[in-house]
Structures are given as structure tokens and as C-alpha cells.
């Protein structure tokens, strides 16, 4: 076994998976914030997983330029360290928030061969599915690997109380499936990034 491979496998055992949750909207009164906090709390319960809520509202990214020219160091560092991402994505007029894409576009190499799962949020009955479907090809172009489970929070205004407490416990089991799949993919891709050569 080569030294780098041995070192890699040893470190892989020691390093927790880092899976940040990106809250993908800046709007006032956003119900997605409850979802993002719930999802972050559920990931925090997982052994071997470190998580962090990244609120795109907190990122001082200019809007008069684009891409890697306006990268925000703290966000890029978190993205570099990440093994996978969760994107909490509300559906606005059948689409994903423009600010979410603006923020995602500020990185590239940080995403390559990393897992991503989307948690859709909507006021209506479809759980953000249309925004999810539109976001998938964007994530693919960024170099991310999408999983086949989604989170879907329908009628989100009824899913939480005013303090953000979850009212419908079915979401716990549904999110469990999503998390297991994302964690599995994060492990596989970390192994691949660090050990499987392209050539």
C-alpha cells in the first residue's frame, strides 16, 4: 500500500464528515429558516458528522459582479472543508431563489465530486419539487453529485409553530432516509476523491 493511501485511510477514520446546511433564501419572514434549523439539528445528532448552518443572508457577497471574483473567504473555506452539502431551497414562483444561485456560483473547485441533497420548501402541496428539479442541473454543472432522496416540506406554514418547533413528526422519519443516503454518498465520494485516480 502506498504511503499516501495508508495516510488517507487512517485520516478518513479520524475526520468527521462535514455537512453544512445552506439556507438558500434571504427573504424576510422566510419559513425556510425553520426547516434549515430543523435539518441542521437532525444532522448534529449523527455520530461522525459535523454540521453548520450557513445562512446566505449573512454572506456579504456583492450583487454587481459574479462567480469566483466575489467569493467570500469564510464560505469558500467551509465549502472546501465540506464532504457534502444540504441546500434548503424554497420554491418561489416555480423556481429557486436567484440569490441562492448567485451564492453557489462563487465557488467551483470546492464542490468537485462532493455530495449534495436538496430540501425543498413550499407553501403549497408539492414540497418545492419544481424548484428542486430546476436546481439539479445547476448543481451538476458545479461538479456536485446529487442524491436520489429529497426533503419536501409542503404547506410549510403548517409544519412548524411560531417558535420553529416541528408539528408534524412524519418529517423526522422522512429526513432520516435523506440523511442516510447523503452520508453514504459523502463517505463514498470522500474515498473516491482521496484514493481513486482518474487515470
Amino acid at each position: 500500500m502506498e504511503r499516501s493511501q495508508a495516510v488517507g485511510e487512517q485520516h478518513m477514520e479520524l475526520r468527521k464528515l462535514f455537512i453544512p446546511v445552506i439556507l438558500g433564501t434571504t427573504r424576510k419572514g422566510r419559513m425556510s429558516e425553520h426547516v434549515a434549523k430543523f435539518v441542521t439539528a437532525e444532522f448534529a445528532k449523527r455520530e461522525g458528522v459535523e454540521t453548520q448552518l450557513i445562512d446566505i443572508r449573512d454572506l456579504p457577497i456583492p450583487i454587481d459582479d459574479a462567480g469566483q471574483n466575489i467569493r467570500y473567504p469564510a464560505f469558500s473555506e467551509a465549502a472546501m472543508r465540506a464532504d457534502a452539502f444540504v441546500i434548503v431551497c424554497p420554491e418561489y414562483n416555480h423556481g429557486y431563489p436567484g440569490m441562492l444561485k448567485h451564492v453557489l456560483d462563487t465557488n467551483l473547485k470546492e464542490y468537485i465530486h462532493k455530495a449534495v441533497g436538496i430540501v425543498g420548501v413550499s407553501a403549497g402541496p408539492f414540497g418545492g419539487t419544481r424548484a428542486i428539479q430546476d436546481l439539479l442541473p445547476v448543481l451538476r454543472e458545479l461538479g456536485l453529485v446529487t442524491i436520489f432522496w429529497d426533503g419536501n416540506f409542503s404547506s410549510v406554514q403548517s409544519a412548524f409553530d411560531e417558535s420553529g418547533n416541528l408539528l408534524d413528526q412524519a418529517y423526522v422519519r422522512r429526513l432520516d432516509k435523506f440523511m442516510k443516503e447523503l452520508i453514504w454518498m459523502a463517505k463514498v465520494l470522500r474515498h473516491g476523491r482521496e484514493n481513486i485516480s482518474l487515470e
Partner: protein, 59 residues
């Protein structure tokens, strides 16, 4: 192709992807066949960081 060494760990990194970066205004390295800069992605098995560089074949 020369191996990339992790600047933090000093160990050999794993070359696992090529990616076209269309946003780089580095006309010297733009590959005419792809319309952007072809970059190699290398990840360190020690710390997990990924570094990229322009694909050697396109230089």
C-alpha cells in the same frame, strides 16, 4: 503528468477530476476544444483539501 503535493501535508494528492472553468479570464490557458480552462482537481488523502491547476496537456 507530475504529481501534485499537498502544500499542508506534504503528501501526494489524488488526481480525480477534470473540470472546465468558463469563468476564468485567463486567455492564455483557454483550451480551444472546450471553450474554457481545463483544470485538474487533486485531493489530499491527509487533510481532504482539493487543489486545482490548469491541465498540463492544455498548456
Amino acid at each position: 503528468m507530475s504529481k501534485m503535493i499537498c502544500p499542508d501535508c506534504g503528501i501526494e494528492m489524488n488526481y480525480h477530476a477534470d473540470k472546465v472553468d468558463y469563468n476564468i479570464s485567463d486567455s492564455e490557458h483557454i483550451d480551444p476544444d472546450f471553450g474554457g480552462v481545463l483544470e485538474e482537481a487533486h485531493t489530499c488523502p491527509g487533510c481532504g483539501k482539493t487543489h486545482t491547476r490548469a491541465l498540463e496537456k492544455s498548456l
